[in-house]
């Protein structure tokens, strides 16, 4: 009794769930598929390839990269190399989407008032009619 009271620094001996094991919060698998997905070494090469190919005007590939390696995005400490590529893919995707949607919305909402004559030439359904794309040749 004396011994326990003399040292108030001793933490609560009752092993309550306050003791956090670092391994319990970090996942084992870097992909969203878990054990059905890739191992860590393959994941790094896949993440790198997706990131590089995304520069070919493929923001959807960046989005797929982020979706596929979602655990790596959340837990940066567990998968440092994958996190590096996935974060850049996420940044690229948001940037591209912001730019692209701003253009698309300007075009759609602005319409003829903003663009004038050019709008009719650029809009898709007129273009399709002109070229005859929906003829099901």
């Amino acid at each position: 009794m004396e011994a326990s009271r003399s040292n108030p620094e001793i933490p609560n001996p009752n092993p309550s769930p306050r003791i956090l094991l670092p391994s319990s919060s970090s996942p084992v698998w870097p992909t969203i598929d878990g054990p059905l997905g890739l191992s860590e070494e393959d994941s790094v090469s896949y993440a790198r390839r997706f990131y590089k190919f995304g520069f070919a005007l493929l923001p959807l590939l960046w989005a797929v990269n982020c979706f596929y390696f979602w655990p790596a995005l959340r837990h940066s400490r567990a998968f440092p190399r994958i996190h590096h590529y996935v974060v850049r893919s996420a940044v690229g995707f948001t940037l591209f989407t912001a730019l692209f949607s701003s253009w698309a919305l300007t075009f759609g909402i602005g319409g003829e008032r903003l663009f004038g004559h050019v709008w009719d030439q650029l809009v898709m359904y007129n273009l399709a009619d002109k070229i005859g794309l929906t003829g099901w040749s």
Partner: protein, 428 residues
């Protein structure tokens, strides 16, 4: 103190497997029905396609019923002949180990389907709803969609959801294209394809059976478009590299330690109760060329992927649909079990089920409901037969024949009944 895990019931293993294959089939059918109803509401512009399925006879509404029937029969015969030829070419190429060429062709045909056919259907929708989208946005989005789709279908290790989604989309696009054929041709074509599937898979000279036997004897996978449901993992799956293509490694082990695999079967059976079918134990004893039954577990790795249904091989069939732009797309038909115990359903099955339901949607929603139930029932029967016979089975015949039967009965009998009841305010 660990909690005792809840004993898994048959609903959670077998039911889960079935749900995971019925859900994408239903989604594909729903999407095709939606497309058909939305795009053909203005039926003044009847879009007719000139394809290989209408090469013998183009249907006009002024012909008599008998003429239409004979014309449709000729069309279907031509189509089935072309498909048979192309499937034999596929078997030959597979025999000569031109796997790279086949995979490249598969990627190319997926690109054509997603890019061109997807683009055309998107254009239809844009024109119908007058969406103010400009060509740059449209092209970039379409390009993205098509390229990521090709990658998803091509690469074996992509996110499962993305691959499954894209396979369903490809099935939907091809099925919508098929619904543009004339009516009689579509129905006779469906029945003809069901009979062809039956013959090609079950006859010893059938091309699909040859393909499956080749694939088994060489221990390779057939390079084609197949939908693979996510395998059901049991509760205690722990670390250890789980592979979706388990059978390739284990095939070497299987011949050596049959006893080892038996042991794990028994342990698995004891662990998860009797929810697994008992065929597992018997089937792993024999290793015939056609029946390849494994329990879908990797004994030395501690990973547990359950296989409530037995493992079979998918059968393959090449669909040949022609339009001016696309070549042939390699789709797979037939049902089987994948290497990790998941159910594999060929994309051709998705397509023809959706064509049937789409055609039914062109008449009325009553026929849609009836045909949907018939097809799902037929799929259930096929899965039961799969578990019973432990062989590669054609998934088309039962469902298509039931579906056509229900369509005819609904149009002849049910419609009159329902309409009369509604008019007299008895029901509905």
């Amino acid at each position: 103190m660990a909690q005792n895990p809840r004993p898994t019931s048959i609903l959670e293993t077998l039911g889960e497997e079935l749900v995971r294959i019925i859900t994408p089939v239903s989604i594909c059918m729903l999407l095709v029905v939606i497309l058909v109803t939305v795009l053909s509401s203005d039926s003044s512009s009847t879009v007719t396609v000139n394809s290989i399925a209408t090469i013998a006879y183009t249907e006009t509404t002024s012909d008599s019923t008998w003429d239409k029937f004979v014309g449709a029969l000729l069309n279907s015969l031509v189509f089935v002949a072309v498909v048979t030829l192309v499937t034999f070419v596929l078997v030959l190429l597979f025999y000569l180990r031109c796997t790279k060429f086949l995979k490249a062709y598969m990627g190319f045909s997926s690109f054509i389907v997603l890019g061109f056919m997807g683009g055309e259907i998107a254009l239809f929708l844009i024109e119908d709803f007058s969406v103010p989208i400009d060509c740059i946005t449209f092209l970039v989005v379409l390009f993205n969609f098509a390229v990521v789709g090709v990658l998803a279908v091509f690469m074996s290790k992509m996110a499962i959801l993305v691959t499954q989604g894209y396979l369903v989309v490809i099935g939907m696009l091809v099925a919508y294209w098929f619904t543009l054929l004339p009516e009689w041709t579509t129905w006779v074509l469906l029945v003809a394809m069901a009979l062809y599937d039956l013959a090609a898979v079950l006859l010893p000279v059938g091309p699909l059976r040859l393909l499956v036997e080749l694939a088994i004897s060489r221990d390779e996978e057939i390079p084609a478009l197949v939908y693979e449901a996510r395998p059901v993992t049991s509760q205690d799956s722990r670390a250890g590299v789980g592979q979706r293509r388990v059978w390739r490694d284990r095939r070497n082990e299987n011949s050596n330690d049959v006893s080892h695999s038996n042991e794990s079967i028994h342990s698995g059976l004891g662990e998860n109760g009797s929810s697994r079918l008992n065929f597992n134990v018997n089937a792993s004893e024999n290793d015939s060329t056609l029946v390849r039954a494994e329990e879908g577990r990797v004994p030395d790795r501690g990973q547990e992927l359950s296989a409530p249904l037995l493992e079979h091989i998918t059968n393959a069939q090449q669909r040949g649909h022609e339009d001016a732009v696309s070549g042939e797309s390699m789709v797979l038909e037939g049902i089987g079990l994948g290497s990790s115990g998941s159910i594999k359903l060929g994309l051709g099955d998705f397509i023809f089920y959706s064509v049937l339901v789409g055609r039914a949607a062109m008449y009325d929603f009553m026929t849609v409901y009836a045909c949907y139930l018939a097809i799902i029932g037929g799929l259930g029967v096929t899965l039961m037969l799969l578990a019973l016979y432990q062989k590669a089975l054609p998934a088309l015949p039962v469902s298509i024949l039931l579906g056509v039967l229900f369509y005819i009965l609904t149009r002849l009998l049910l419609e009159v009944f329902v309409v009369q009841c509604s008019l007299n305010l008895i029901m509905f």
